[in-house]
Amino acid sequence: MPDSIVILDAVAIQRALTRVAHEITERNENSAEVVLVGIPALGDHLAFRLGKILASIWNHPVPVGVLDTTMHRDDLDQRTAPTIHPTDIPFDVTGKTVVFVDDVLFTGRTTRAAMDALNDFGRPKKIQLAVLIDRGHRELPIKADFVGKNVPTALDEKISLLLTESGAVQDEVLLKKK
């Protein structure tokens, strides 16, 4: 078995995002209430791409923000300090349906930190979670609402992503042995 397998190539990533966008539209009747919030370092790229697809379906712009979760992590004691990414949420989240967008759902701890961090910006009506890859191994009671691809993994494997905001042809998702 090779050291790494391509799970999604650029075309498959775009197709997965398009499907996720349609699922978001099915789930949310009032499109004016939906805002996207990407989790860096890669979820923000996906959020902007998803925002464009949704805007073309709904025929109106969809607000997209970026939320850094590092200051709300639960492991700050046990590791070197993580890189802080800029947070930019240029809209009020109160009363909105916030769709978190992340690249990989794994333990669920980042999602928990994101829910905690979002509290400081207002009280959304609802929070939903969209991820490109769900690799399993949850450590918290958290479940994605929208999944690009389910990838059963072993703990000693890792998902490696090459993603751009515009969706370049080189984009891909790999499964690697650690």
């Binding site: 850094d68 590092t70 200051m71 709300h72 992590r73 700050l76 004691d77 590791r79 070197t80 300090a81 993580p82 890189t83 802080i84 990414h85 800029p86 947070t87 905690d116 961090a117 400081d120 910006f121």
Partner: protein, 312 residues
């Protein structure tokens, strides 16, 4: 980027990458300060002690607020109202603080090297908030943060530090930080306060103020530190102001985009004219705002700093 240091003792021992890591991290914390809710739980449950053996207001308050905004508990300990008056040594005081499970000790002391000494007697993270005439690392970090934010870069800029360099821990830390990041540093002031020996740190030394500030992108003014001068280093304050004070006439001969900085407290009418301290080119109050963000970043980073096995 990564930060692995358990303490922040000086700028001299930091790499350019480590300095940049602090600046990048501080940018994230500055944004937190602009939110409606200015607090994050990063240091929840930690105890920070402000051990200020030498008096300070702005640095102490800045660290206090930084710790609070990270959700840590903070205790203030000042020399005037403490056991130092009763003859307790620094080591014993530190051990007592450790017995109270302090996770961070922020120390200001009149003796150079006091923070380094502390790291040998306690297990807590130690942050230097100014030791004698040695270093004041967080001031230098907030200075370079402010310069980078305003000018977009540090490398290649002309930075003139004007005033009492000899007794200034701010100047020493600034010189280390600026030269590591590639700025050209010029020092200026009375020859008694700006000796040529500073050229060994990679600076240019001049005693002609007009020449020193003519091509400067940044003019950083330092206060005359009367408390550290054991003998008179120049004839009078009036003469200092006349020869080295920044006034309208002098400022007119500088670059129109040169910024004026000052670590505070400012002595209006001595090193800087009142109207210049308040003019649009002065970033003195922005330095205070940035100081808070930088100190949050330092607490956040050293918290994750693990001592490598060989240095433990």
């Amino acid at each position: 980027m990564s930060w692995t240091k358990k303490h922040l003792l000086d700028i001299e021992s930091l790499t350019a990458d480590e300095i940049i890591t602090v600046l990048d991290t501080a940018r994230g914390f500055k944004a937190v300060g602009e939110r409606a809710i200015k607090k994050v739980p990063a240091l929840r449950g930690k105890t920070v002690v402000n051990l200020f053996v030498e008096p300070s207001t702005r640095t102490r308050i800045s660290f206090e607020l930084a710790a609070q905004r990270l959700s840590a508990d903070i205790v203030n300990f000042s020399a005037e109202a403490s056991s130092f008056k009763k003859g307790e040594t620094l080591k014993d005081t530190a051990l007592n603080l450790e017995a109270l499970n302090a996770d961070f000790i922020i120390i200001r002391h009149s003796a150079s090297g006091a923070p380094h000494f502390l790291t040998r007697v306690v297990d807590a993270h130690v942050i230097n908030a100014g030791d004698g005439a040695h270093e004041h690392p967080t001031q230098a970090l907030l200075d370079v943060f402010t310069i980078r934010e305003k000018k977009g870069r540090i490398a290649g800029l002309n930075v003139t530090i004007l005033g009492d360099i000899l007794y200034s821990r701010v100047a020493r830390s600034d010189i280390w930080a600026l030269t590591k990041l590639g700025a050209h540093v010029t020092l200026c002031g009375p020859s008694t306060l700006v000796p040529k020996t500073f050229e060994k740190m990679g600076c240019r030394v001049t005693h002609d103020v007009d020449e020193a500030i003519r091509d400067a992108d940044i003019i950083n003014l330092l206060r005359i530190q009367h408390e550290r001068q054991r003998k008179t280093m120049f004839p009078s304050i009036g003469e200092y102001t006349q020869l080295f004070g920044l006034n309208k006439v002098r400022l007119a001969k500088t670059r129109p985009d040169a910024l004026i900085m000052h670590p505070g407290p400012i002595n209006r009418g001595v090193e800087i004219d009142s109207e210049i301290a308040d003019c649009g080119r002065s970033v003195i109050l922005e330095q205070v705002t940035n100081g808070l963000a930088v100190r949050m970043a330092v607490l956040f980073l050293v918290n994750g700093g693990k001592v490598p096995p060989d240095a433990a």
